[in-house]
């Protein structure tokens, strides 16, 4: 079926299969940083923002993206650059495979939570799996980026 998706502010026409998920539709449109990880909805790698909310694109039917603002990493270049800088400063970036989904979630968190505690940050970021860094460096980077102690 033919559908229209608005991605990073630009309308795109795409033909999807019945029951196709947003992750694979976005990948076909060339958004290669919308990753596929666990295939069970547990890892957060495929996260995109739907109307600003972090959402698993691997578990969201592509048709549910119609009439919504879909944001991928490319749509947040300013914030992404800011966060990438603190993340690399803390030595928390290794293979980078989880970075797109993680980064988008952090950006959404900054907009949603006002001066969160460490526990609130952890709660928001649970479900973003990274196998390289052990999370401590990431947490330091997130706190710096959020400007909280």
């Amino acid at each position: 079926m033919e559908i229209k998706l608005k991605i990073n502010g630009i309308s795109k026409d795409i033909t999807i299969k019945e029951g196709e998920y947003l992750q694979s539709a976005l990948k076909r449109l060339g958004f290669l940083n919308v990753r596929k990880g666990c295939e069970t909805g547990s890892c957060g790698l495929c996260t995109v923002l739907l109307d600003g909310k972090p959402t698993l694109s691997c578990s969201t039917l592509a048709v549910r993206g119609i009439k919504k603002e879909i944001t991928t990493l490319e749509g947040e270049s300013v914030e992404v650059a800011k966060f990438a800088e603190v993340l690399t400063d803390e030595g928390a970036d290794q293979c980078g495979y989880c970075s797109p989904g993680f980064t988008l979630t952090v950006i959404a968190m900054k907009r949603e939570l006002e001066s969160p505690t460490t526990d609130e940050i952890k709660h928001y970021l649970t479900g973003n799996l990274c196998r390289c860094t052990g999370y401590m460096g990431q947490l330091r980077a997130v706190k710096k980026y959020m400007e909280v102690k």
Partner: protein, 253 residues
Amino acid sequence: MFTIKQHLMAQSIEEGYETLVKNRNNLILGGTAFLRLGNKNINIGIDLSNLELDYIREDENNIEIGPMTTFRSIETNKLLKENFDGIVAESVEEIVGIQLRSVITAGATVASKYGFSDFITALLSLDTHIELYKGGVMSLETYLAEEKVPKDILVRIIIKKDGKKAAFKTMRNSKSDYAILNCAVSNLGGEYRIAVGARPGRAVVKIINNDELMNNIEAVVDEMKFGTNMRASGEYRKMIAKVLIRRCIEEVK
């Protein structure tokens, strides 16, 4: 992964229902996060996301939750945080991550009677009714008691605002993992509703009175069946259940 022949964006609940009963392989689509882990062959997938069924609202007597409301909305909703000591919101907050909770829906969890549901446990401890499009209004307990999932559409979840005190406890090996067991207890004027979920079967509820309370936790738990799966044995669950129930009761006494 499931396959789906045709996707129908229903224009009304009536259209959704007509399509649902036409073929046994037609199915209502909720968030589809759990559905995709199986391998069903779906003839027509019926999508209710255009019908404004995503809401949490209150009137004088009840709080109503629309079936397409996501767990993330339930978790952050002010009404649900302020009523029933916040247990409805609390019951969903450790389910995987917020990205998944932004996808999964209240209606799919309740209508499908999933055994792992933390949310159903919280609802069962309260005075909760559901409304089916054809089947009408019934208590959640009655709905769950019937083995089959009916060919019908869940249109509303209705929780009575009767001032119950309530508590919810869950046991997980780690945050965001599936629950090994969860438990919710409410108290209104000495009548205690004790709900236990992730047994690992469907959640169940027992009602006891204040005067028979403390001696009776043992008896309540003895009447419930606890099963074994890869997370825990039935025996272990039974022991955990006694502890969680006692802790909940301490909070609502």
